[in-house]
């Protein structure tokens, strides 16, 4: 087994009066996409900052490329911060060239690569413009390019899809999948579970600084089993309150996703639903990550 690209061992970070991350351990294998999940304020950004050496853990260890963290590693890392991390007054192309240069590229290579990327991400017309003239989504794309310009082996992105419309989100997703094909390792954080579900090989779920779930996505889902039912109906919804059948439910408006109580029979539920409502759809599904998250967090909170 190859040594993991990123490895966290019992990492802890506390600020003045609160603990941002506690006892966080996971590893990311080369060539995989890893998702760091959690609601706002869970400690995702704090974890990422420790992985690129902006902050230092109070306890535990961060290892990159099989060695304890050192600044030299950063040449091989591409980082995209949460929100915008660009000079507002600087022109797009010049900015990219500068950011490429400080990562060791020479000016000519940096410019050539920046141009190529801008064309790829439909930013070519904006290269001579100042960053502040760009929309938030376009700035995010510039930031995205800046992280990839020096062809890093490890790409770390803090909320890369925030503020992007679906078209651009797909564009960036495709780029990331390509990078994975090229053998790069990708770690990104998000609070949007649906994106992770489509892309990640493994995940780590954190809540209030605590690691609540970690591992390969497939295994996690298998562990949860096909205990979920998606129901589309019209009429009486009182069956949702039957605690003998349902452990929990999540109302999405158009449909509800329910989790069966342990030992409960799906057929029995179907009967009960159809007694008071018109059923359009009744499907046994793998739990969505969101469902799992709500389950787990609900449990820890209780």
């Amino acid at each position: 087994m190859p040594s993991p690209t990123v490895q966290l061992e019992k990492v802890r970070k506390s600020y003045d009066h609160f603990v941002a991350v506690d006892d966080l351990s996971f590893q990311i294998l080369p060539g995989t996409i890893y998702g760091l999940l959690g609601p706002n304020g869970a400690g995702k950004t704090s974890s990422l900052r420790m992985m690129i050496g902006i902050t230092v853990p109070d306890a535990g260890q961060v290892r990159l490329f099989g060695e304890p963290f050192q600044r030299g590693h950063l040449r091989r890392v591409g980082y995209l911060p949460e929100e915008r991390g660009l000079y507002k007054k600087m022109k797009v192309l010049e900015q990219l060239v500068f950011l490429g240069e400080i990562r060791g590229l020479n000016a000519r290579d940096a410019a050539a690569r920046a141009r190529r990327w801008c064309e790829r991400l439909e930013l070519a017309a904006w290269m001579p413009k100042k960053v502040e003239e760009l929309s938030k989504g376009m700035q995010q794309k510039v930031q995205f390019i800046a992280a990839l310009l020096h062809e890093p082996e490890l790409i770390m992105m803090d909320e890369p899809f925030a503020g992007l419309d679906p078209v651009n989100a797909t564009l960036l997703k495709d780029v990331l999948l390509e990078q994975k094909q090229a053998g790069r390792t990708i770690l990104f954080s998000t609070h949007r579970m649906d994106q992770v579900e489509r892309m990640c090989d493994s995940i780590c779920l954190i809540n209030r600084g605590q690691q609540v779930l970690e591992g390969e996505l497939k295994q996690i889902k298998a562990r949860w089993g096909r205990n979920n039912v998606q129901i589309e109906y019209e009429g009486d919804g009182s069956f949702l309150k039957d605690n003998s059948l349902l452990q929990s439910f999540n109302d999405y408006g158009n449909y509800v996703e329910v989790r069966l109580a342990p030992g409960a029979d799906a057929q029995q539920l179907l009967h009960q639903v159809s007694a008071g409502a018109k059923v359009y759809k009744f499907e046994m599904v793998e739990p969505s990550l969101e469902q799992i998250f709500i389950d787990v967090v609900g449990k820890t909170d209780a």
């Binding site: 929100e83 991390g85 660009l86 000079y87 240069e101």
Partner: protein, 413 residues
């Protein structure tokens, strides 16, 4: 090193290309030019004016004497007098003249009858009575005219009279060594003024530059590629270079525009030679002082989280410079006193005080070398300090540090 250079480059090019830079570079010389040009223009405008006055005298000779004296003296203040002599010294005439002055036909009249002259009390009635130069010219003209007529009456010949009344030239000479020192200390004040203004303008600029990154996430991107020390050193030098560029542009402009005048005035400055060491030390101390204070502003920028906060705390940074400025007089008077030695070695005061000592009475070479070494070391220390504050300060977004926290940060590795 490469990274520092890249940061310098970016900082420099970004700042030099702003409209603000262009504006201040052009506006300030224009303002200075105007402030020199306008008063000169106003003075010359006045010189073309002819002041029309009437001299009321008891005899034509007295009147003529006053007229010729006035003609001679008026050149000094760059004006011209048209003088009419009036021999009717009556109250009615006085009233008539006063009316004329009031009506604007006449600029003024001088009541210089023999009685008035004997009493040494001559009256000048005019519309504009606030011009001191004019009063002084009239006074000396009348005094000379009075002397002239008295001497003539005592039988002094015209030739001798002229000789007596001719003014004596005073040649101002300076003793060799000491005077050059007295002249040279001016350079320290120039240095002080330059340091003050440049630090004020560009210190704020460094501070903003540091703040800008801190408040956006740019620094996260930068710090994943640069060390804080590289970033800080690059910023301080880059912004300093912008200030130096502006000064260089002004100096070049000054040389082009003021050069011909300076050449013309060379005669007046003859005998004054500026030793090259004066200028070299000027450059060295200015540069070091500028970098030192810039780095202090950078530290301030790293410490605070908003512009306003930084402006409020500015006084802490400017304080030492202000203090040094005030101490210059003391050092000027006693360049070899112990307090002068001690103060001139303190890096924050050295740019002004050590330079002052060099100008007034050159101290031993080791003291100069020591002060320069101390300044260089302090600048390096400041940069490390900035980097450290910056490094740790960014962990606390938008939170104002307390003093114990700052202390904690400084000891944090």
């Amino acid at each position: 090193m490469r990274n520092v250079w890249l940061v310098i480059q970016r900082e420099y090019l970004e700042k030099v290309r702003t409209k603000a830079f262009l504006f201040t570079t052009m506006f300030i010389p224009a303002l200075m030019g105007l402030s020199i040009f306008l008063p000169t223009k106003m003075a010359t405008m006045k010189s073309n004016k002819v002041t029309h006055i009437v001299v009321v005298a008891s005899s034509q000779a007295t009147g003529d004497a006053i007229r010729s004296q006035l003609a001679e003296r008026s050149q000094d203040i760059g004006g011209k007098y048209a003088v009419d002599v009036d021999l009717t010294a009556s109250d009615a005439e006085r009233a008539a003249l006063a009316a004329k002055v009031k009506g604007g036909e006449l600029d003024g009249f001088l009541w210089a009858t023999d009685d008035a002259l004997t009493a040494r009390s001559v009256t000048y009635t005019a519309r504009n009575v606030s011009d001191f130069f004019e009063a002084a010219v009239l006074k000396s003209a009348v005094t000379m005219a009075r002397m002239q007529s008295r001497l003539t009456r005592h039988g002094v010949g015209a030739q001798e009279l002229q000789d007596i009344l001719k003014s004596v030239d005073i040649k101002v000479e300076t003793g060799e060594k000491k005077s050059s020192g007295e002249f040279m200390f001016i350079f320290t004040f120039i240095l002080g003024a330059m340091l003050f203004t440049t630090v004020l303008v560009y210190g704020i600029s460094v501070m903003r530059s540091v703040l800008e990154e801190k408040n956006s996430r740019v620094m996260e991107v930068l710090l994943s590629a640069l060390t804080p020390k590289e970033l800080m050193a690059g910023k301080i030098i880059g912004v300093a270079a912008v200030g130096l560029t502006q000064i260089a542009i002004w100096a070049a402009l000054g040389a082009v525009l003021g050069g011909p005048y300076a050449l013309a005035a060379r005669g007046a400055l003859q005998g004054v030679s500026i030793p090259p060491a004066t200028l070299i030390f000027f450059a060295v101390f200015f540069l070091l002082g500028y970098l030192l204070y810039s780095s202090m502003y950078a530290a301030l920028g790293a410490l605070v989280s908003t512009d306003q906060e930084g402006q409020q705390l500015q006084i802490v940074v400017m304080g030492p410079l202000l203090f040094a400025y005030l101490m210059m007089f003391g050092v000027l008077r006693q360049p070899n006193a112990t307090f002068s030695l001690v103060l001139s070695l303190v890096p924050f005061f050295a740019p002004l005080l050590m330079y002052m000592r060099i100008m007034v009475q050159p101290p031993p070479a080791w003291q100069v070398a020591l002060s320069i070494a101390l300044m260089v070391a302090t600048i390096y220390g400041m940069v490390s300090l900035c980097a450290r504050i910056y490094r740790i300060g960014i962990l606390m977004y938008g939170k104002r540090p307390t003093l114990p926290e700052i202390w904690k940060w400084l000891r944090y590795t």
